[in-house]
């Protein structure tokens, strides 16, 4: 259905917010309603006011009036903002900002306020009901709307939970082929971008606020002027456009201005696929994989499980083939060749670390073995490894799959296409379609042309839609200087960022939850993007900007989308008017999925030009998007900044990743700091990296599994104008990136500069000290001994207990996590953070070991010989051991274990954590006095403590974000995973009202629903037919450290890998 009906304008929306009653956002704090008013103002206020003026104002006041005035002023979002500039937002950072000298001042303030609060009764709270209540809104019950999140050339269908008009949580859309109901960290975190207080809020011209109409006028005059030259000097620069409407809008515009050009630049999207397709088929095609059908998969440096279009769908299909029912079950087999350890590589059965440049050699060799005529020499180990792969691939003709990584050159892709055809995989494990991408030419080339034109003074009107070229364009383009040359530059962006500062016009871009649009998924399926909330600020969409230059300036995006689909729906089974509501409701437009095509191969592997032989001792620098902030677009997203990166477990920083061996030769040691320690702060050596005639200083990080002589430079950090959260974090790898070496560079120099840098690492220690924590085995071992998971430790029999067991006659909530499926992607961590109002604490606090994630993902390397119980050994990757070159990597999500014999409960002095009748380990925040005894006594260390006031209770936008079903925890209380008790209760209440038992899968925890690989299953363990009960009955099912006899309700299914029996290990 269409939420716009009740969200006509801000005023109404925000009244709804006020309407959200007692349970709403800021529980546990008095002035709820005032703050909600702030939110209202925040959306309207425009005037710029300066701090000095305010100071003057304040001087005139005195005494009680003074404080009152402050409160009034605090209602003004700009004053709020200014304050925040002075005292940064997050509690922790705020901590840093306030030095001890400021202490007395503070004391004074707090005392005065305490005085105010002390006298009299708490202020009256208000309820502001609707004036006309929209039919589908029942205050207190969330509504769910389907839409889609566009993400660099792809779109992920999502379902958004909305509380009285506030979107609060995003889930995957089961009906959408690119989501299949799951999501990833970016999708989960995108909701925070919507409420980011640092978003640009207005139209600006050279730094001055302008009105939208002013822009429209300017646009029209510009349009007419370029019209004269039929668009000569008119350029449009976009990222990859997956919106058919926008695509056609631009095309129409170009038709109107024949001489105008459309360029595009995606810093983190490889040209491999397009160029490869051109090389192989002479045309651009879109490749859709069907990993679910493949028994053997070979990834040539492709992280298809966690990046690139279709990642979620692929992860889901792949995981389903990792489902192991009983000893007779079968598993697919994954071979990965890659220079950089990736999520995909970590779940491989065989992983071969090869330098980026050697991947092509490997592919050629592979092609040769499969009789494609190409050839290349491989080193001993790699050669043996290759033989195993070839054997396996040939065995599984038609059911195998070779995936080339998008950062690999065209040749690798062409070879991959050829091989897949040769193996007869096309049509089964993969198929080709028309490209989803609107402008499928090389990124760098496209941008190079533009720059060339600019420097030749050919460009006088440039529209930049999204992206951030000033920050992320190859440094040899020197885009900033170029942009200044352009007389009229117009920039659409959600932030007033690096590029906006160099543009004449800045248009603030709406969040995808704020406006109408559409987008195509990885297989072409189109969805209508419908707004969940009317824009919080004066923001606009790309559609609006393009329209501004068309003959219909000011045409709403809604019309643009409707217009496009009225035409486009001609060939669909249902016309727009017939289908519209259904499209919106389902989140997909039926019949828009691209039909498979069969391009014919115009590629002869033998004719490939000989590749320059690899120089093994030359260091290679590999550029990759960062796992959490991607190409930098999420730099200002606190959730993603604080999300530990899957393999390094670093937060708030990127680092130059080096292999243990290289670290040893360069002697880049890590020093574990006493403050925080292994679970917090590591000092790492700073290195100067000189590359392509430019230089950057980066913190180094030793990462087991990085290919020899390879240095990985993650992109997306070192932003200078990202906003409060993202500015000046990490180092900017773009500085040493040039257009001719976008992904792999050599001839660089890396020299330690003798200094060190503190990195916030949430898990440094990587081995299990021989404890029964993460149990793994191979398929053979499993078939031989299905109960292998239980050898390392068993819980003592219940009969040993002197106490009589508590009975759980009703529901017994439990969780089973299949370690065979978990690939460490960390979507669950962010999902949990979004669902449960978990605060961001900032780098300093993470370095003190105080991050608040309710679910963490532990990363272990098996087969390593570092054993810290031996003298001197610290299990420290910076202590080189050969086993660290290519260790087997496993991930283990660790939420609260909800132990039946909970050690935490027994030691709590005030009954703040007790067991519910359904076996939940309840945490009662308002009873907690914060002794932290429970955390000390928790063997799994899953409890989190509010050491300071971590929650941001001032920023109005963040209040809108909060999930009203979950308490916002105050300072000094313990918290932890609750199995999403709010979801349990809501479902139970509905079931009880109908006097029926809760059905299996009716309750889905946040982590479970986000998980792309279906690794997490929650349910009623008492019901033998439930999914969770079946899993717990599996012989692989074990509980961590069973011998402690805490009897966790969260249990794990041992990981079983499927290495080739005849094959090379690793």
């Amino acid at each position: 259905m269409d939420p716009m009906s009740d969200l006509a304008n801000n005023e109404k929306l925000l009244r709804i917010l006020e309407g959200a009653p007692a349970a709403d956002t800021a529980r546990g704090q008095q002035h709820a309603d005032e703050h909600e008013e702030e939110a209202e103002d925040a959306t309207r206020q425009e005037a710029k006011l300066d701090l000095s003026a305010l100071r003057r104002k304040l001087k005139e006041k005195s005494g009680k009036e003074y404080w009152r005035t402050l409160e009034e002023l605090a209602d003004n979002p700009h004053f709020d903002a200014l304050l925040h500039r002075e005292f940064p937002r997050h509690a922790s950072e705020w901590d840093d900002a306030v030095d001890r000298r400021g202490f007395l001042k503070l004391m004074g303030a707090s005392l005065a306020l305490a005085g105010l609060a002390g006298c009299g009764r708490p202020d009256e709270a208000h309820i502001a009901p609707y004036v006309k209540q929209p039919d589908q809104v029942i205050p207190g019950r969330p509504n769910f709307y389907a839409t889609a999140m566009p993400f660099s050339g792809d779109a992920i269908g999502v379902i958004v939970e909305s509380h009285e008009g506030r979107p609060t949580k995003i889930e995957g859309n089961p009906d959408h082929p690119s989501s299949l109901g799951a999501s990833n960290a970016f999708v989960q975190a995108s909701i925070l971008n919507l409420y980011d207080p640092d978003r640009a809020q207005t139209v600006m011209y050279t730094g001055e606020i302008r009105s939208w109409s002013a822009f429209l006028d300017a646009a029209q005059s510009l349009a007419t002027s370029v019209k004269a030259t039929s668009g000569e000097g008119f350029r449009i620069l976009t990222g990859s456009v997956s919106s058919p409407t926008l695509n056609s809008q631009i095309k129409k515009l170009l038709a109107a201005y024949p001489a105008a050009k459309w360029h595009h630049w995606e810093p983190a999207t490889g040209d491999g696929p397009t160029e490869g397709a051109k090389l192989a088929f002479g045309r651009v095609v879109n490749t859709v994989y069907v990993p679910g059908k493949a028994n053997v998969i070979l990834s040539l440096d492709s992280d298809f499980l966690a990046s690139g279009p279709g990642q979620i769908a692929y992860a889901k299909q792949f995981a389903r083939r990792r489902k192991l029912d009983g000893p007779n079950g079968t598993l697919n087999r994954l071979y990965v060749v890659e220079p950089v350890p990736s999520v995909t590589g970590s779940s491989a059965d065989h992983r071969l670390p090869l330098r980026a440049s050697e991947i092509e050699l490997f592919s050629r060799a592979l092609g040769g073995k499969l009789g494609l005529g190409s050839d290349a020499a491989l080193a001993g180990h790699a050669a043996k490894w290759l033989d195993t792969v070839v054997a396996d691939l040939e065995k599984e003709r038609g059911a195998s799959l070779v995936v080339a990584g998008e950062y690999q050159p065209a040749a690798v892709h062409a070879l991959a296409h050829a091989i897949n055809l040769k193996l007869g995989n096309v049509g089964t494990t993969l198929y080709y379609t028309e490209p989803v991408e609107a402008l499928p030419t090389g990124n760098a080339e496209s941008l190079r042309e533009l720059c060339a034109d600019i420097s030749h003074g050919k460009v006088d009107l440039l529209i930049i839609l999204g992206g951030n070229p000033v920050y992320d364009a190859p440094h040899d383009f020197d885009f900033a200087a170029k942009l200044l040359k352009v007389p009229n530059s117009i920039r659409l962006s959600p932030y007033y960022d690096e590029t906006s500062r160099y543009s004449k016009w800045h248009i603030s871009e709406s969040h995808y939850l704020e406006g109408w649009s559409d987008a195509r998924g990885h297989d072409g399926t189109a969805s209508i993007i419908q707004p969940l909330i009317s824009p919080l600020y004066y923001t606009h969409s790309a559609h609006d900007v393009i329209a501004a230059f068309s003959d219909k300036p000011g045409m709403p995006a809604y019309d643009a989308v409707r217009n496009y689909w009225t035409e486009a729906s001609a060939h669909l089974e249902s016309s727009l008017d017939a289908g519209w509501r259904k499209w919106l409701n389902d989140g997909v437009i039926p019949g828009t999925k691209f039909a498979p095509i069969t391009p014919e191969l115009k590629f002869n592997a033998a004719s490939l030009p000989a590749q320059a032989p690899a120089k093994p001792d030359q260091i290679e620098y590999v550029f990759r998007p960062d796992p959490t902030v991607h190409d930098g677009r999420y730099a200002n997203n606190g959730w993603l900044q604080e999300l530990p990166k899957p393999l390094t477990k670093l937060t708030w920083d990127n680092a130059a990743l080096v292999s243990p061996k290289l670290a040893q030769t360069k002697n880049l040691a890590h020093i574990v700091q006493a403050r925080g320690g292994e679970h917090g702060q590591i000092l790492s050596a700073l290195v100067d990296i000189e590359l392509n005639g430019s230089k950057v200083t980066a913190a180094s990080w030793t990462l087991p599994g990085v290919a020899e002589n390879t240095v990985v430079l993650p992109l997306g950090y070192g932003r200078t104008h990202a906003g409060y959260t993202g500015t000046n974090k990490g180092f900017n790898a773009y500085v040493v990136r040039t257009s001719d070496a976008l992904w792999t560079a050599s001839n660089g120099k890396m020299t330690p500069n003798g200094e060190t840098y503190p990195l916030a690492c949430t898990q440094y220690h990587f081995n299990m000290e021989g404890r029964q924590i993460l149990v793994t085995g191979t398929l053979e071992e499993y078939k031989k001994n299905p109960a292998f998971a239980h050898e390392s430790g068993e819980a003592p029999p219940k009969s040993d207990s002197l106490y009589k067991e508590f009975a759980y006659p009703g529901y017994a909530w439990g969780m089973a996590i299949d370690l065979n499926k978990c690939n460490g992607c960390s979507a669950c961590v962010v999902a949990c953070q979004a669902e449960n109002n978990i605060p961001v604490v900032g780098k300093d606090q993470v370095m003190r070991g105080r991050e608040m994630h309710w679910i963490r993902i532990d990363r272990y390397y098996t087969g390593t010989d570092a054993d810290s119980s031996r003298e001197g050994k610290t299990g420290d990757p910076s202590e080189y051991s050969p086993t660290l070159d290519n260790p087997e990597t496993f991930f283990q999500p660790v939420p609260c274990m909800q132990c039946e014999n909970a050690p935490c409960e027994q030691v709590c002095p005030v009954d703040a954590t007790v067991h519910s009748a359904e076996g939940l380990n309840d945490m009662v925040y308002n009873r907690c006095i914060g002794t932290r005894y429970c955390s000390n006594n928790c063997p799994y260390k899953v409890r989190r403590f509010n050491f300071l006031r971590f929650q941001d209770w001032e920023t109005p936008q963040l209040k809108l974000l909060r999930n009203p079903e979950v308490t916002v925890r105050s300072r000094g209380v313990m918290e932890k995973c609750t199995y999403c008790v709010q979801r349990i209760n809501n479902v139970r209440i509905d079931a009880e009202k109908q006097n029926r038992p809760i059905r299996d899968n009716e309750i889905v925890t946040a982590c479970e629903s986000a998980c792309p690989s279906e690794a997490i299953v929650f349910g009623n363990a008492n019901d033998p037919t439930s999914k969770v009960a079946k899993l717990k009955a599996d012989e692989r099912n074990y509980s961590i450290l069973a011998e402690i006899n805490a009897r966790p309700r969260t249990t794990y299914l041992a990981a079983v890998r499927n290495p080739n029996p005849g094959g090379e290990k690793a």
């Binding site: 004391m107 532990d858 009873r927 005894y933 955390s935 260390k941 050491f947």
Partner: protein
């Protein structure tokens, strides 16, 4: 009672000098001790000492204010190390608080004459130590203003404290211990307050001591009930003293943290407590007797006896350390073994070795009479042992938490400025209270000293 007992008559006892220097009369002891309170003017030393400690107390208040404003996050604690200095200090102070009541109660029951001249300020010390200790359990909580949840009162929430938690046991143990020690101390003071009342010259003192002494008039009937009450108190305090540190040790031994979960804890905590308690008594007694010329009352014999007690308890503590390792290796529990190794080789091993040096090696010097009878040496040693006992608690609390079950969650701990300032602040508070005490109340039990005089001057002659 004590007076009836003939002195144990054996060569070595005779070799020892008496617990009271010869030549004292009822009047002289009374005068000498009462004078400190009533007539002696405030010395520059006292003023300086008081000033210094007072400023430390101000530092304490500052630290607490900042703590309340910001939260326990200003300390070095984190996950997994949820307890840091606060709990270390708590256990340390409580330990120190054990000597006083122990001396007064157990030595009284064992009828040790030498207790008389030290029990009074030892008891005072106990009270002040318990006061310092009491601060920490309160402020270490995340929400101190909610700490009253720990008391069993009929709340409108209809919910009660959780009596399986050792922290609740602490609440009762410590408060009981505080109360009983106070009563014990006050009862002991009654006759002396009366003495001060009667000897006070100016009205203010008369009123003050008059009120405090409740009109005590040394009647034989009073004495009779007094003595039976005092004896009963001693009898009650003895098991109490032992129970308190046992309960404190439960905070750890009841938990399942490797390095905490040990059955040896209760006895060896108690021994440790007495150990540090006596060390602290020495630390205080030696300067005190010097400053106020009380060498006649606190004689070499006292110091030597206390040294012997320290040696004995020190050995028990050493045994405790040994048993921890023995249990770890003998049981073969992989977590305990690992932790044992951590203590020896882990990142905090230097603390452990320092602890061994302070608590086990240094005290061995006490085997030598020369050392035992050397005031300076004893003083230094008492300081060393106090340090050692603090380290012991640090090792137990912190090291165990840094390396528990999940390697992925291992961490480390380092104290912040506020950790230190709070600790130093309580030290200041403790000493400041001591300063006030010696000037406000008789630091030595006068009436008991008179008994000693009687006992000495008339030998056995006095009773038949």
């Amino acid at each position: 009672m004590s007076v009836t007992q003939p002195p144990i008559d054996s060569p070595e006892i005779r070799r020892l000098e008496p617990v009271l220097a010869p030549g004292h009369t009822y009047l002289s002891v009374t005068d000498k001790i009462a004078a400190v309170v009533l007539t002696r003017p405030l010395g520059i030393g006292w003023l300086a000492g008081f000033g210094l400690t007072f400023s430390l107390v101000m530092l304490l208040f500052l630290s607490l204010a900042w703590l309340i404003t910001k939260g326990v996050g200003i300390w070095g604690i984190n996950i997994p190390i949820g307890w840091g200095f606060a709990i270390v200090n708590f256990v340390w102070w409580i330990g120190i608080g054990h000597a006083g009541t122990l001396i007064s109660a157990i030595l009284y029951l064992l009828n040790q004459k030498w207790r008389t001249s030290i029990n009074r300020f030892a008891e005072a010390m106990t009270l002040f130590a318990v006061a310092c200790a009491g601060i920490f359990p309160l402020i270490h909580t995340g929400r101190p203003w909610m700490a009253y949840y720990m008391f069993p009162y009929p709340s409108t929430m209809g919910i009660w404290p959780q009596f399986r938690s050792p922290l609740i046991w602490d609440v009762f143990a410590v408060s009981t211990y505080g109360t009983v020690s106070l009563l014990f101390w006050y009862v002991g003071l009654l006759p002396d307050l009366a003495t001060l009342r009667d000897r006070a010259k100016d009205r203010a003192q008369q009123l003050a001591y008059g009120v405090l002494s409740l009109g005590w008039r040394n009647s034989a009937h009073h004495w009779h009930r007094y003595q039976s009450a005092y004896l009963l108190l001693a009898g009650l305090a003895t098991p109490l003293v032992l129970s308190v540190h046992t309960v404190v040790s439960f905070d750890f031994s009841v938990a399942i943290v490797p390095g905490w979960h040990t059955t040896i804890f209760p006895p060896y905590f108690v021994a440790g407590a007495i150990y540090s308690g006596f060390a602290m008594v020495l630390t205080l007694a030696i300067p005190l007797r010097k400053a106020y010329g009380l060498e006649d009352f606190i004689t070499m014999r006292h110091l030597e006896n206390m040294a012997k007690v320290m040696l004995a308890t020190g050995l028990i503590v050493a045994y405790g350390y040994f048993i921890e390792f023995f249990m770890a290796y003998y049981s073969g529990n992989k977590f305990d073994v690992f932790l044992a190794n951590q203590r020896l080789h882990g990142p905090y091993s230097h603390f452990y070795y320092a602890l061994i040096l302070c608590n086990i090696l240094t005290p061995q010097l006490l085997w030598f009479e020369k050392v035992r009878r050397n005031v300076a040496a004893l003083f230094i040693m008492s300081l060393v042992i106090n340090t050692g006992m603090w380290l012991e608690r640090f090792v137990i609390v912190v090291i165990s938490l840094t390396r528990d079950y999940m390697p992925s969650a291992w961490g480390r701990y380092s104290a912040t400025f506020w950790d230190y300032s709070t600790f130093v602040g309580t030290l200041g508070l403790f000493v400041m209270l001591m300063f006030l005490f010696v000037r406000g109340l008789p630091a030595i039990a006068i009436s008991e000293m008179r008994e000693l005089v009687a006992h000495q001057s008339h030998g056995k002659g006095e009773h038949q």
